[in-house]
């Protein structure tokens, strides 16, 4: 192999295109989707140009952005929409670099859109890698496709150049994006998770959110007697809303260690008592769900909650914003922490899962990595974060960026819950992004458990079996976390 003039690179790229194409063809009947991907890849004929000669770095320009280098931003257009990028962050970037052209791409299928481009080497500069069809960040990192974001977190903040960015964002944000010990992911949105309910309805009926599972069952009985479905989630496409609750309860019983063990594929992690007890307790609540909810999608269940047909709905802080246009005047969102299992739980009732989520990544082989880093720095400024919260209704990891904004009832209730929790924070589960196979299995097993087809013991055994097989699979790069 020679290193001359990029020709070997070209050949590889073409080989890769061909390989992607052939996978599509072998899949044969799987047809349209795969084929669409293959075409998506082959249309990118621009040869990978040499990195644009970097401009000099300065306090204002810590990454050496070339002022006229084009920037391509790909945004997952889901619950958060994409106007935060189009109307806030991109104009802010344009203001600093008026000569740069920004290409904005919005999609709901990140993987189908971008996987062929990664294989061919023609990658965009900045990606919101979210949604059901996000790309496997662990796989991307292990193939050297992700840019190490350490320089971003070490860079001076736009608001106060004397501070580093990592000191202006919530604790745990950098850690939540670690792969193999380095930050490759910017988790930008701060999300809280719990049981959502309608304050107005609950006040009218005299119900209160339960503090433990005994109370939970009691209030479910009352709600059932009133003719509502006490509890529901969408089995068809959002069973992860439910497995979060199971994991949170397990963490409340045992502490965050159980979640770390699950992430680290520790032998027997799924067989722990805390997981079993949590699964058994939730299976009991499953008896209050109408069977039909297994066949509904999340927006259908959310709508039924807005119609006061469902009392409790497990979800995250984006729920209120996602339902904004459908919420009637009689409905006011509030969130309650996941109930405690027993009084001897390690964490108090107030403990709540707050996590930085919504992964943003920069491809290592992007043409304008400096511009992408600067774009991320803009997102992490107070102005950028405030604009994001205004447009998307979600809080960011930027400290104090929501100050002065008038928060909606649901977000305000979440803010209060986070305040009450103090240091009792249930951690995020990384395996969801690290090991998609395990995550897929958990979705299936959660539906089976909650709709009464398997017992808590079987649930744990099935999950452990899958975890063992992922651990034994040499093609999957293993990750580890200590915090």
């Amino acid at each position: 192999m020679t290193n001359s003039a990029g020709s070997p690179k070209d050949i590889t790229r073409r080989q890769m295109l061909r390989r992607i194409g052939l996978t599509a063809l072998v899949a044969g009947p799987a047809g349209s989707m795969l084929a669409a991907c293959a075409t998506g890849g082959s249309s990118s004929e621009a040869s990978p140009s040499a990195a644009p000669s970097a401009a000099a770095t300065s306090a204002q320009n810590p990454f050496g952005v070339k002022a006229d280098a084009p920037l391509e931003v790909v945004i997952f257009k889901g619950g958060l929409g994409d106007s935060y990028a189009k109307d806030v962050h991109e104009p802010m970037y344009k203001k600093t670099y008026p000569n740069a052209t920004i290409k904005h791409v919005a999609t709901q299928q990140i993987a189908q859109t971008l996987q062929p481009r990664f294989a061919s080497g023609d990658v965009p500069d900045f990606i919101a890698n979210s949604g059901t069809d996000l790309m496997d960040n662990g796989a991307l990192q292990s193939e050297g496709q992700l840019l190490d974001l350490t320089p971003l977190f070490e860079a001076p903040s736009i608001d106060d150049p004397s501070k580093k960015i990592k000191d202006t964002i919530l604790a745990g944000t950098v850690e939540s994006g670690l792969i193999a010990g380095k930050p490759f992911i910017l988790n930008y949105v701060s999300s809280g998770y719990g049981l959502w309910y309608n304050t107005k309805l609950f006040q009218e009926k005299g119900w209160a959110p339960p503090k433990d599972f005994t109370e939970f069952k009691a209030v479910c009985e009352k709600i059932k007697a009133a003719g509502l479905t006490p509890y529901a989630y969408a089995g068809k496409n959002a069973s992860y809303y439910q497995y979060w609750m199971i994991l949170i309860t397990a963490a409340k019983v045992e502490g965050n260690q159980v979640l770390l063990d699950i992430d680290n594929l520790v032998d027997g992690a799924w067989l722990k008592d805390s997981v079993k007890q949590s699964a058994a307790a939730w299976a009991e609540i499953g008896k209050y769900i109408d069977k039909s909810y297994e066949g509904l999608i999340h927006t259908e269940v959310q709508t039924r909650q807005n119609q006061d047909k469902v009392a409790f709905y497990p979800s995250g802080s984006w729920l209120e914003n996602e339902q904004k246009s459908n919420t009637p005047k009689t409905f006011e969102y509030a969130v309650a922490p996941t109930p405690s299992l027993t009084p001897s739980d390690k964490m108090p009732y107030e403990a709540i899962r707050v996590a930085s989520g919504e992964p943003y990544i920069i491809p290592a082989k992007a043409k304008n990595t400096a511009g992408a880093l600067e774009y991320a720095r803009i997102m992490l400024s107070k102005e950028g974060a405030k604009g994001f919260t205004e447009k998307s209704g979600s809080l960011t990891v930027v400290k104090g960026a929501a100050e002065g904004l008038s928060l909606s009832p649901g977000i305000k209730s979440l803010n209060d819950a986070i305040g009450a929790a103090g240091d009792n924070i249930v951690t995020y589960s990384q395996f969801e992004n690290w090991y998609k196979e395990l995550e897929t299995e958990l979705r299936k097993q959660t539906n089976s458990l909650m709709f009464g087809r398997i017992s808590a013991d079987e649930f744990c055994a099935n999950m452990q079996k899958k975890a063992d097989s992922v651990k034994a699979d040499s093609s999957i790069t293993k990750q580890n976390r200590t915090v």
């Binding site: 061909r18 044969g28 009947p29 047809g31 349209s32 066949g295």
Partner: protein, 301 residues
């Protein structure tokens, strides 16, 4: 010789295109199925038959294969039976009119109506049936059951029912095409044959089983092979309709769906290719068996 040159010049381009776009990808897929390629970088590692040995112990893979077996038997049978019934009614069912066999009244209209589902894109059909199969009484089917006082049926959430519900959609969409196919077959039967039989006092039942069926047997076999190959697909409908893509409890999953998931969700293109190769052999086996059966029938007739 000049004649062959002429034919050759017409054949060579399609053959080259076929080799480049069909055969060579297949061959490369065989190679990829022997690697642990994750679809992202250009350095797949050769791992021999590991993917295939793993496939043998993969419950989801076998569930998918079982579902193809069910589809392969039930779907063509039901589709062909319904299509034959309809096309017989449309072509012969009305009896003899002024010396020509005719269908039941309004048969031209029905023929168009039966073909409608075929015109719709599969994704549209999927979304349509989401509303029809919805598990509570807001669903079209359950709403109707509700009117007559029957409880809601979990069309897509009952593990015993889900695959059959999806099969129902495939049949609903496919029948129209086979009605047209069989109608063409029946139109090719000389009407004197029917008239002679009718004069001899044969009823519709007799006309169908003793005249129509044997004379369009070849067409039915073609339909059988088409439907068999379709039974190895079902990707789009399962993807759109089933609980959690292939659920509940893997009750509806099919190989193309697992290939798609393994490649694009799990980033395991090597393993997905191994599944693709398995699917390739299943399809080839089916096609070879069908062709053999067909050949024997010809000799007997």
């Amino acid at each position: 010789m000049r004649k062959y040159g002429f034919i050759f010049s017409f054949l060579v381009i399609p053959v080259i295109l076929y080799a480049i776009f069909v055969i060579s990808p297949y061959l490369q897929a065989f190679y990829i199925s022997l690697t642990n390629w994750r679809g992202i970088s250009a350095n797949p590692q050769f791992i021999g038959f590991e993917n295939f040995t793993r496939l043998l112990g993969d419950d989801v893979f076998w569930a998918a294969v079982r579902h193809h077996a069910v589809l392969l038997v039930a779907m063509p049978l039901i589709t062909i039976a319904i299509a034959l019934f309809f096309s017989f009614l449309l072509n012969v069912g009305g009896g003899s009119k002024s010396g020509k066999m005719a269908g039941v009244r309004g048969s031209k209209f029905y023929r168009v109506v039966y073909f409608f589902p075929q015109v719709l894109a599969v994704a549209v059909v999927g979304v349509l049936f989401q509303a029809i199969y919805r598990p509570d009484n807001t669903g079209v089917l359950n709403g109707l059951l509700d009117l007559v006082g029957l409880g809601p049926v979990g069309w897509l959430i009952d593990t015993n029912l889900a695959l059959w519900s999806i099969m129902g959609v495939i049949i609903w969409q496919g029948v129209g095409f086979y009605v047209v196919l069989f109608s063409a077959g029946m139109a090719a039967i000389p009407s004197e044959v029917f008239e002679a039989a009718a004069l001899d006092g044969a009823g519709r039942f007799r006309l169908f089983f003793s005249i129509t069926l044997p004379l369009i047997w070849d067409t039915i076999q073609v339909g059988w092979v088409y439907l068999g190959i379709a039974a190895f697909d079902a990707f789009a409908l399962v993807q759109v309709l089933s609980v959690d893509r292939g659920g509940p409890d893997n009750a509806t999953t099919v190989l193309p769906l697992e290939i798609w998931r393994t490649a694009f969700t799990f980033s395991k293109f090597g393993y997905a290719s191994a599944m693709g190769v398995a699917l390739f052999f299943l399809t080839i086996t089916f096609a070879a068996l069908s062709l053999r059966v067909t050949r024997r029938e010809r000799i007997e007739v």
